[in-house]
Every structure is written in structure tokens, then in C-alpha cells.
Symmetry: C2
Subunit: 257 residues, 2 copies
Amino acid sequence: MLKNESSTARDRALDDPRPALPPIDVEEFRKVVRSRRSIRRFTDEEVPGRILDDCLELAMLAPNSSNLQPWEFYVVSTPAIKQRLAEACLGQNAARTAPVLIGIVARTNTWRANSQRNLDEWPEEKRPGIVEKYYSRIAPLHYNQGPLGLFGLAKKAAGLAVGLRRPVPRGPYSPCEMKVWAAKSTALAAENLMLAARAHGFDSCPMEGFDDHRVRKILGVPRDGIVIMVLALGRRAENGVYNRQYRFAPEDFIRRL
Amino acid sequence: MLKNESSTARDRALDDPRPALPPIDVEEFRKVVRSRRSIRRFTDEEVPGRILDDCLELAMLAPNSSNLQPWEFYVVSTPAIKQRLAEACLGQNAARTAPVLIGIVARTNTWRANSQRNLDEWPEEKRPGIVEKYYSRIAPLHYNQGPLGLFGLAKKAAGLAVGLRRPVPRGPYSPCEMKVWAAKSTALAAENLMLAARAHGFDSCPMEGFDDHRVRKILGVPRDGIVIMVLALGRRAENGVYNRQYRFAPEDFIRRL
């Protein structure tokens, strides 16, 4: 459940910096992953608020780039808005039948504010010098692309020059690379959200087939936001799975070095 | 464990198209997510091959765009190669100490071959007309950006025109949007992989701070591949966690409509 919402990150941090690792039944985890399918039809059953909140909390515990948390979740359950959103999702069954739709959005312009916030909300008594330096000096250089992406280009040139002699961190070097950067961390959270729903006995359908212009307008997504998916969430209907799950041969996707 | 590697997707599909949902202990899942941290130092302990394979199999069960599986996993455990890769990861502790490093790569050019493969390996006796149409006619239009991305631009213009009257699917409209598209599905798999390792009692560190040029060369990543992260994998060392976990206040990331 979401903790006291007015607390700061420091309040919410666990007391023990290195809590003991709990024993985990791996088979329970396998069941979550293996029983997750993209569900195309849901029943009328609502998703209880406490379960939805738990799923969102687990989503936001995903690893993310430098703890800059470039994600946003637009949780739509008001029937009239949900109906408009389902239409913008081209009226597909998953969108029409789900009791909740969540627009999952990656932000490319929140890194600056969130760098500062990492300084303000650092969860330890003492803020190490490297942390101070990272969020106050390195991150602002690293993620800033400048007007027309010109600063990114300059960084790329510098990286190419210095990189001739020794390994250097590269990118993000362009507005496009910032989009990939933000979408990546946000997708990690989206996967947690889908698995959490499954662990709670509910199901989801991540949708990319939607009218991006209309979805942005309905949700009020800021200009720098990328709607990486609209997630349908609910109770799996009996006819909610359209076909057997299948994946191509693993050896075509795994290289061993 | 990875199934018989010479089998086809159809062989590997479950017999029952709609298997009964297993009861799941949600607390076991919460433990997986909550105990996962980005680990900066690992012990010398190897990750057993069967556990690594199980993690990879669970990774590849992540949802992904139209089942086009745009992901690849470069599993590096040969000491000499691993050492070079750790140097390309700027010598950071997580990379130096981990017994296994995995380059997780998103491919933007495998969608065409994998569309055909979805037709060839469709897991049901009868291939529905809509599936036939999707992989043979819609996907090749939808993901193709054409030389210099010109076809993507034309699609964007058409979408703008038709979209004035009714909701239309939009994008990917550019090589950049294809990168976001591929990185997104691949990140969903990466999150499964990290959680699976945790469920098995192992840990991970997703790294973005690496020399992309050198990493691509060491791994032999094709031109269209994007290294979305290098994942360090191993047994958490006692000093593997540097600070308490913290997230900003959830209400700043959740909009309710």
C-alpha cells in the first residue's frame, strides 16, 4: 500500500540500510511470469483500490536510471474518461472491457528537477561527495542536450576524441537518445506493474495500438512525455486469451561469450 | 530450464491454450521486488548454468510488441572477455566483481524476419485471417520506415490527415521511434531477468555507464542493435548495497482521472 503520501523519501526509506535477504519461493515467481498473458477481454469486476495502489508501489520500485524516476502513471477509472480513452485505443476489446486503464508515460525533461530532489531527499545522514557531485554537476551535463540538441552533438564529438584513448561513458547524445533512456526505465516499471497485477490474481494487456494524439490530449500528457503503453487492467475473462503462448527458439536470441 | 533447443515454437507451446490460473502467494512476489537492489559488489560465487538459463527463459516470457521479440542477450562468462567488458563498463565495481555480465540488446531490424516467423510458427492448428493479415501485410507497413525514414514521414502525414476524422494508430514513424519501440519490449524482458535472478537468491546491477563503442565491439552487436544495458549478475556481497532504497512521493508520479 502506498505509504503516507506527505512523507519524504527519507521518511519512507527502510530503517536498515542492508536488510537481511528474505528466503523466496522461486516457484511462486515462476508462476507469476508464466501465467501472465496479454488479456484481450476482462470481466466487469473492479480492481480494488488497495490492490491497484500496491501494484503501483511495486512498479515504482523498479530499478531506474540514476534514481531519476522518469515515469508517470495516468490511472483512468472514471467511466466517461475511460470510454474516450478506449476509443482512442481504437476500440480494442482489452481497452473497452477493462475496468481500469493506465497510461504509462516516460518523461524526458524531469531529470533536472529529480536530480535536485535526489540531493534534497538523500536517505542517509551523510551525503557522500560522489553523490553530491553526480547530481549537482555530472547529471546536468550528462542529460542536457542543449538547444536543438547542439550540446549533445558537442558531447558526442568530445566522447569520440577522448574515447580514442580510453573507455568513456557515451550518450545520451541526442533528444532521441533521451527518449530511449526515459522509455527504458519506464518500461522496467511497467513490467513490475503487470507482474504485480498477476501476482494479485488480476491481469493486464499492454497496448501500443492507440491514437497517440488523442491519448495525450485525454490524459493531459506534457509535451516531453512519451506514452509508452496504455495498460488495460482487470480480471481475466474466460475468453480473454486468444491463442497459446509461444516464443521463438531461445538459441536465436542468446549469444554466449 | 530452456526447453529442447531444436524445437519449434509450436512444439514449445503449452498443450492447453487456456491453462487454469495457479493460486499465487503475492507476498512471495512482493519479497522479490522489495529485496531487489542494484548491487555494486558481488562475491566470487558463480551463477549456476541452470539458474542462468531459467532467468533467461523467464526474461523471454515478457510481453513484447506483436510477439516480434526484438531482444538479444549476450551472456559473457569467459574471464578474458568479461574483463574487457568490465573495462568498457568503466571498471565499475559491479562489472568487475560480477561472475556474469549480460549485454541486453534491442534490435530495430529483426521485425521483418520475426513477422514471417510468427506466421511460420503460429502455435494453433488454424491461423486466423487477422493474424495472417497482420504479419504479412500490416506489420511490414507499420514498422517499415523506408530509406532515410521517408516512408515513416509519409505514414505520419497520412496519419495526421486521416486522424482528423477518427482515431488512427500512430507510429512508429521514424528510426528514432523504432529505437524506442525496440528498447521498450527489451526492457520489459530485462526486468523479468532481474527479478528472476532475485527470486533465485541472486542479484543484479543494470548498468548504463559504459563505453557503447567498445561494448558493441566486444559483444559483436549488429549495427541495428541498441545496448540498453549491461547487466551484472551474481551473489550479493555484504557491502554490495551502497545506500538505503528510496523513491520520491508517489503522488507526484500518479495522476488519477
